[in-house]
């Protein structure tokens, strides 16, 4: 019974709970049991919220809350704050901190009856592409425990892929929802920037960060998207406009007459042949379903990665200045003799890991007088040109598509001491963050080279999130990839 429950989709679970075929408490307990059984090997969770989850499930069973996802369990990335649970953002500097408030999306999920099972592992402050930069040890990819689940949101994606939760929340600054989704054979969507509130999201790069859904099916991702999206007065960058109808789009999967632009920059050297083969097949499938395929060129996408690795560290160097050992979090070396400045330096040295230090140093350098114009200023101009490439491309195509990642899941340790190789994992996902438009990854099969999942990325114009769900749902329906995880080895 319990084994069967954890394999159901969020939509099916919600339906069965609403019909009283099964109680929300049974569903929550089944998932908590699954976490207890497999998480010693996967290490998706940093904190398991057993009591809170069961209490919320009882509310659903008592009929206090209803809705399309009432009673469905969810894995929450540890960069989102929620009362009653610690929040570390994968960093030692926040170890043991209990946030005194809820993120807006946490409030919305609570009101929708979603059951938060716990907080998931991530690269420290969401800086990384493998979850190995977590201060609490890496997460393992359920397809092959010796490989990474991607990052930074590897915990949420691995939890979804290993049937510990049907839904997850991730955050995507340069690909941290989509890249883990791609390499774990799951679905992950980055909504339009401003489409989902950032209130209560621990900031990394404020002009790029965006929270979004992780799931095993496109419909489940859309259902969660609909719960968390919408204007929030507490986030000044939140867009005050109706939420795109992503649920209807995911149910329709109709692509006849849709113009699909294949980005010519995202292929060739550095791309794994098995990844490109699956991607090409998915495009051919969409064409058979009646979509019109056009090739589009976005020449400045070649500069998206370097522009991103100037803009994001620059913003991070400013955002992370708040970890000053004074008001919350770690404090090291306070002996009543050392000055506040000395305590700050000791605390930040002890509390931050290598990748965070690299980025703070890089960002501070890029923003410093004398280098500002050549680095940060120039990167912002490139950002303008990338947005123009998108506008030009969307004149010819309704959505753009590419592989989500150049390769399948890489091995633990493989890129840990080679930051540039690590950064390449986000080559195809970064442009949408710089532009602000929505983008998602849906599985398109297994690579013939290594038998690991391949992600298909769909990018859409700002506030046209429904378009990407429609195309992703078509890929999923045609290729049957909502059942791809059945091919993963048993844990």
């Amino acid at each position: 019974m319990s084994e069967e429950l954890v394999r159901l989709s969020a939509a099916d679970l919600a339906e069965r709970i609403a019909a009283r075929d099964v109680s929300a408490v049974e569903v929550a307990q089944a998932h908590l049991d699954r976490v207890a059984a497999v998480d010693d090997r996967v290490h998706a969770f940093l904190h398991v919220n057993s009591e809170g989850a069961l209490a919320q499930a009882r509310r659903v069973d008592a009929g206090e809350v209803t809705g399309p996802l009432a009673g469905v369990p969810l894995a929450l990335k540890d960069v989102i704050v929620a009362r009653g649970m610690p929040a570390t953002a994968g960093s030692r500097i926040l170890e043991g901190w209990h946030p005194p408030y809820d993120a807006t999306i946490v409030e919305r999920m609570h009101e929708a009856g979603i059951v938060v099972l716990g907080k998931t592992n991530m690269d420290e402050f969401a800086m990384g592409s493998s979850t190995e930069h977590s201060a609490y040890g890496p997460t393992h990819n359920p397809w092959d425990l010796s490989r990474t689940p991607g990052g930074s949101g590897g915990g949420s994606s691995a939890a979804v892929a290993s049937y510990e939760a049907p839904l997850g929340i991730g955050t995507d600054t340069g690909g941290s929802i989509r890249q883990p989704a791609a390499v774990t054979g799951t679905v992950g969507a980055k909504p339009t920037y401003g489409g989902v509130s950032r209130y209560g999201l621990i900031a990394f790069s404020s002009s790029l960060d965006q929270a979004g859904p992780c799931a095993r099916t496109v419909l489940d991702a859309a259902l969660l998207h609909a719960v968390i999206a919408g204007h929030d007065p507490r986030d000044s960058t939140s867009i005050d406009a109706p939420v795109p109808d992503v649920v209807s789009a995911a149910r329709s999967a109709e692509v006849s007459g849709v113009r699909i632009g294949v980005v010519s920059q995202f292929k060739g050297e550095g791309y794994q042949p098995g990844v490109l083969a699956r991607f090409d097949e998915a495009v051919a499938t969409l064409e058979k379903m009646g979509a019109e395929i056009v090739e589009v060129s976005c020449p400045h996408f070649d500069y998206a990665l370097p522009a991103y690795y100037l803009i994001a560290p620059s913003e991070a160097s400013s955002n992370l200045a708040r970890y000053d050992a004074m008001r919350y979090g770690l404090r090291v070396g306070d002996d009543d003799v050392r000055s506040a400045e000395e305590v700050m330096a000791l605390t930040r040295d002890a509390g931050f890991g290598d990748e965070v230090k690299r980025r703070i140093i890089l960002g501070t350098y890029a923003l410093s007088a004398g280098y500002y114009d050549a680095y940060y200023g120039q990167a912002q101009k490139v950002r303008t040109l990338i947005a123009r490439d998108f506008s030009d491309a969307f004149a010819k195509a309704d959505v753009l598509v590419s592989p989500t990642t150049p390769t399948t899941a890489f091995s633990l340790g493989e890129r840990l001491d080679d930051p540039l190789a690590m950064y390449l994992a986000d080559l195809c996902t970064i442009p949408s963050n710089l532009y602000g438009g929505p983008a998602m990854s849906v599985p398109c099969g297994l690579s013939s080279d290594d038998g690991l999942p391949v992600g298909f990325q769909v990018m859409a114009p700002v506030m046209a999130d429904e378009r990407m769900y429609r195309v992703a749902a078509a890929v999923e329906a045609a290729l049957g990839t909502d059942r791809l995880l059945e091919q993963a080895p048993a844990l």
Binding site: L330, R331, V337, S339, T384, V462
Partner: protein, 80 residues
Amino acid sequence: MTDDELDHLAGQLSVILGAVARVQEVAAADIAPTSHAVPLTNVFRTDTPQPCLTAEESLAGAPAAEDGRFRVPQILGDPQ
């Protein structure tokens, strides 16, 4: 940071800086910079009192607190 740590990071940072300097290849002299994806200006809310954290809640995560305030190491001059 220790000298060993600095030596290790310095080499990596040179490589990263060399790679990101590629943005300088783009001819963009007459291009306006983009700092933000959504063009929003002057976002205001009405100035009405809202519930907020109590002093106790605000101090709950503090490394040190005293008399309802954050207790911090000396900022100016010698320790008291």
